[in-house]
Amino acid sequence: MTFINYAAREINCKIVYYGPGLCGKTTNLQYVYDQQPNATRGKLISLATETDRTLFFDFMPLELGSVRGFKTRFHLYTVPGQVFYDASRKLILKGVDGVVFVADSQEERMDANIESLYNLEEHLGSHGYDLKKLPYVLQLNKRDLPTALPVEEIVAELNKKDEPIHEAVAAKGTGVFDTLKSVAKQVLTELRKS
């Protein structure tokens, strides 16, 4: 749910990174955070367990610049990927403007990808959203691993609506900004339409 602040001349949008456990959602955010200049970057908040698994969410604000005199601010969130944090995942999707689904390219994680994507659609539905109408990007992460499946095979399983698809190696930053740009652009385009 976009928040347009005429008083501060700001547009605020919420983007959520979704996907199965250990697919690289937090790594995406960490890379974006690391690339921001010290002077302008906000804090990266990570509510994680002692073993660095996301417990509730990661959060970072990102200011991209101005469009038509309005500052554009994106609030980037990740969800906890582990199956038993389902209630938390649902909460974080509330008010979302755009979703990035981070898929783990490894063959042995395909079932987890499919289950997580189904879970995403279910939770979006419970908030009154339809994935087919929401700004949405599919990121195929961990493309550098030898066990990564061919892109066509993953896409055949996970593609939902001819959404933009980006190959990535989030740990090295490959594809991270392309993904972010892709979803942010859709969110702003949606704002223009509305």
Binding site: F59, R68, L91, K185, S194
Partner: protein, 161 residues
């Protein structure tokens, strides 16, 4: 989309700010701010030097969402207020419609006083908040905001250069 967007104009911002200023004074608190339930900051009053209000807003919203989830598990609609007391700093959070009122206070004040003053402020803030998301407000804003319709692909691309 399931929710109407929040549109904040100067006039409403001024009204909210006035309530927050009065609350902060009456409750002898350090900072009072209003955020939406998704963690977007709407208005702040007080000295926020050294206080990361963006992160605080996001965490307060997460906190309310999590306790709201717990409330529903025990058959409650939500827990409308939350209080966190530390050694020196304290937080009081109150749900007002689609917004949250967050008050930061220290030993100069007390939880009882903050609760009392926040309740009064909530009554004043509720109609203003409801107006922020009223269909008429949103429709007017949409009409005013022909500017968003004029956003070009080049404008969007320029953000990423």
């Amino acid at each position: 989309m399931s929710e109407t967007p929040i549109i904040l104009h100067e006039k409403q911002y001024g009204e909210i700010k006035a309530v927050l200023t009065k609350l902060r004074h009456d409750a002898a608190s350090d900072v009072a701010f209003l955020i939406d339930k998704n963690g977007q900051s709407i208005a702040v009053d007080g000295d926020v030097t050294g206080l990361d209000t963006t992160s605080l807003a996001s965490l307060a919203a997460g906190n309310v969402a999590a306790t709201g989830g717990m409330a529903q598990l025990i058959g409650e609609r939500e827990f409308p207020t939350l209080a966190h007391e530390g050694e020196n700093g304290n937080l009081y959070i109150c749900v007002i419609g689609r917004a949250l009122l967050v008050v930061v206070f220290n030993e100069r004040s007390s939880l009882g006083l903050v609760k009392l003053r926040t309740k009064q402020a909530s009554r004043e803030l509720l109609p203003i908040i409801e107006n922020l998301t009223a269909p008429a407000t949103v429709a007017k804003a949409a009409a005013d905001a022909g500017m968003f319709a004029d956003i070009t692909d080049e404008d969007i691309d320029s953000l990423f250069n």
